[in-house]
Symmetry: C2
Subunit: 503 residues, 2 copies
């Protein structure tokens, strides 16, 4: 055992060195999005590319390979257990993937995606898909190649999906999305047809930015975000950066005329942030010290944003606070504001979509991505495919490509396989929340008094403590007692929105 | 020439890679001092140490050594001119030094200094020199070794001084400091004995912190600091970080009851900041793209802080602004506030010292450092040596070591050879300023109307444009037409303070 200990200790040192480079890059990225002066953009991109390259070099270096291979042998011989076994298994998988991608290929893809960002921004601004098409064609070509290099059993899309949601295949996603699509299409039609529409005007609350900052900070604190181990700042698009569990930074964006937008962005990022703060410091730098998957991460942010933050009980607590302490929403009742923040309306833009229609935006992107990687579609087909699918799923007409196929940053960045995690997150959230409800007596009654700690503690003790030791589907199964299943989400939607829209 | 071009281009690439690592480390350091949550301290130290190590490894790597050696041959054969020659000459000198220091030695010194910081902080808090002595002994031992490893002609202290002020020897410093000491001791005695003492109470202006922030930001702008290429933030001790000429960050510290303290800290850092912003982007990553020396850097900050910011004309402009727009210092005259910000009073603490007594604090530290490195003193002698020298130079009695030998951070960090640059900066500032005065008609009359741009432009065109291509003494000589000379400083002091104290 002494020999394995030494080997493992060296392995942890090598992982720490990679983690230090990644952590430095995260500070640079966070700084770039929050505080960096504009004249620094070019050099910053070079510094970040250099650090990424250095981290990749270490992750495929001979010493790292030797130490990891030696540990893999011990794993196969049954000489590693528990966390160590999980760590080596996950790292080996990562390493196998990295090794299959030639340095040349990695660099070309990274360069292409970095330089495509501005092309995409300009194309979107001008709603000119043709201007982005050559970049997209090359990116799709390389992503198809990547799938081939990595290898796959079912669909080539599996090889890409696996980066974001390991343990979930294209067939798994399809199996979950198909009934979800049918349910949602029908349900949304009934919502739209309902004569009982909430008053949307109530949800637009005008508040000075300084006051919004204070209110969002307080909300983050009351949901359990630890400001000794994190920060809340401002950026154009809200995001969460994790440098270390002791340094988790979330951002939000303030518009004077729309306080609730900042509030819900903050709650969403707090959901990501408290998960990151709870991850193991001991296993920092290894997959066990990280989140289970992108989809699982999203389940945490969506749970706090939607299942908690858009609940009636939340507003029974928070509306009086806003009325008494900030003089906001005077004369409004909790039921009114609850309905106003839960309006369901088919729309063009994913990031503005409500809780119910959101998943159809994801189904559409999944269909397109899979079709592209499997060769069913070519990039030039996309604007028409998009228009057809969004008409079919959501019944809306696309007026231009800016509000259609060009709206998301993901494809310009090469993030094929990322989108499904958004919908998986919604499904996991509903399933985990249902279990928390049955485990914690009076969970939602507590919300009425601002008591969010029982849910925080439940998540910490049943879910977060596993870090990335388990793959997301297994983690959901362990935490809830049953495998991932969309029925919790559909029941939740039927109950909540059925009541609001009286359908 | 094609071959030299190729070689030089590769050299610039290798320098850029080192610069990227250093630049990343500067962001981490700036973040640590300004925004980092407290729980991140331990990991941050490790990340920074790792990046420093990586930068050092590259600076002594075989490829870097080969390319630089090849260029050095071309230089010796007279095949490099101008900026390229200066760059290779300076880089070769740096490289020679780095190579002479074994990795083992560098790491021990770095570890020792990093771990000595907290020992020094605690020792200072408890005024317990004995608690810091073992660390200081080992640091001095290593610094003596360093001098031996690097080599020297005159004093071993030369080898340490050269890091901060290349081109200046211990004998040069001694030659300048001796008459300065005599002049100042006598002059200060006369100031103290003068019956015409300004009213110190006027200089303590109480202003809400938010207003101070606004005023300091405006001051930075009006002195020429470019916020598109920099930031102004808050930290415990003000400092300037340069990530790149397009990203220069200065900090200040606000105390509600003392606005002028923040104002002068800001002006001082602006002096550093505008110099950094003006350095060459083309030569980023090489000594030519950097400041000429620490002393020269200090000359810029001190010029703006003292020769401009503490001038009568500055207050003739700024006092009405403060009175009319901020309602501050009402009923005070420009002559009164001018005298109040120019009080000369021998004191214990260097960083609180006025323009005149400041240099004696530096002379004292220079005497001690040189004595330690040359073996005249041992670390255990320091408290008594300190007490004796400060009594001799400034006529003040040290009540405890916290306010004596333990007051500065430098020795715990291994910065032997740094202190002289503070006094050299004051001397260079006076000499450069005298030349600017004779070159720019009505320079100080312009200050009366808030016109600082002519001085900025003069410095940019005559001084900053050289970057680090020349060593500081040469740069002073070129810019002013005569070699560094303390007489400009002493004349300035006699004129200004002679008038204020009527002596």
């Amino acid at each position: 055992m002494g020999e394995v200990d030494t080997l493992y200790a060296r392995f942890m040192e090598l992982r720490a060195e990679i983690a230090y480079l990644n952590s430095a890059n995260c500070v640079l990225e966070w700084d770039m999005e929050t505080f960096m002066p504009e004249a620094a953009a070019d050099v910053r991109a070079k510094v970040m590319a250099h650090l990424s390259g250095a981290a990749h070099d270490r992750a495929v270096s001979p010493e790292y390979g030797d130490v990891l291979s030696a540990l893999k042998e011990r794993l196969d011989a049954g000489r590693l257990q528990g966390i160590r076994a999980a760590t080596v298994r996950k790292c080996w998988k990562e390493y196998e993937r990295e090794r299959k991608l030639p340095g040349e290929f990695v660099r070309e893809l990274a360069d292409l995606c970095a330089s495509s960002h501005h092309v995409w921004v300009r194309a979107k601004d001008n709603s000119d898909f043709g201007a982005f098409l050559p970049n997209l064609q090359r990116i799709v070509e390389l992503k198809r190649q990547e799938a081939g290099l990595v290898g796959f059993v079912g669909s080539p899309y599996d090889a890409l999906l696996d980066v974001y949601d390991p343990g979930t295949t294209t067939a798994d996603v399809e199996r979950v999305f198909r009934p979800l699509r049918l349910f949602l299409s029908d349900f949304i039609r009934r919502v739209v047809d309902s004569p009982h529409q909430p008053d949307a005007a109530l949800a637009r609350v005008s508040v000075p930015v300084a006051t919004q900052e204070l209110l969002c900070r307080r909300m983050a604190e009351s949901l359990g975000f630890d400001f000794k181990s994190g920060r809340l700042d401002t950026s154009v698009h809200p995001f969460t950066t994790r440098l270390h569990p002791g340094d988790v930074r979330i951002t939000t964006a303030y518009k004077e005329e729309d306080f609730l937008d900042a509030l819900y962005s903050t709650i969403h990022e707090v959901g990501h942030g408290i998960y990151e703060q709870a991850l193991s410091r001991e296993h920092y730098g290894t997959p066990v010290g990280e989140a289970a998957s992108y989809g699982f991460h999203e389940s945490q942010s969506r749970m706090w944003e939607n299942l908690v933050g858009r609940s009636r009980q939340f507003w029974e607590f928070y509306l009086p606070c806003l009325q008494h302490h900030a003089g906001l929403l005077l004369g409004v009742g909790p039921g009114d504001i609850y309905r106003a923040v839960n309006i369901v309306r088919p729309s063009l833009i994913r990031i503005e979509a409500d809780e119910v229609t959101y998943n159809l935006h994801i189904c559409l992107r999944f269909d397109i991505e899979r079709g592209l990687i499997e060769g069913e579609y070519e990039p030039q087909d996309l604007p028409e495919v998009w228009k057809g699918l969004i008409r079919e799923y959501l019944g809306v007409e696309v007026p231009d490509d800016a509000r259609g196929v060009l709206q998301d940053v993901h494809w310009s960045a090469g993030y094929f396989g990322y989108f499904p995690s958004y919908a998986l997150g919604n499904l996991y959230a509903a399933q985990l929340y249902a279990k928390a409800q049955s485990d914690i007596e009076g969970l939602e009654d507590g919300f009425r008094e601002g008591k969010f700690r029982p849910l925080f503690d439940w998540l910490r003790d049943r879910v977060w403590c596993h870090g990335g030791a388990l793959e997301a589907p297994e983690l959901v199964t362990r935490s809830t007692g049953s495998p991932p299943d969309a029925s919790h989400f559909t029941s939740y939607v039927e109950r909540k929105f059925g009541e609001i829209y009286r359908i």
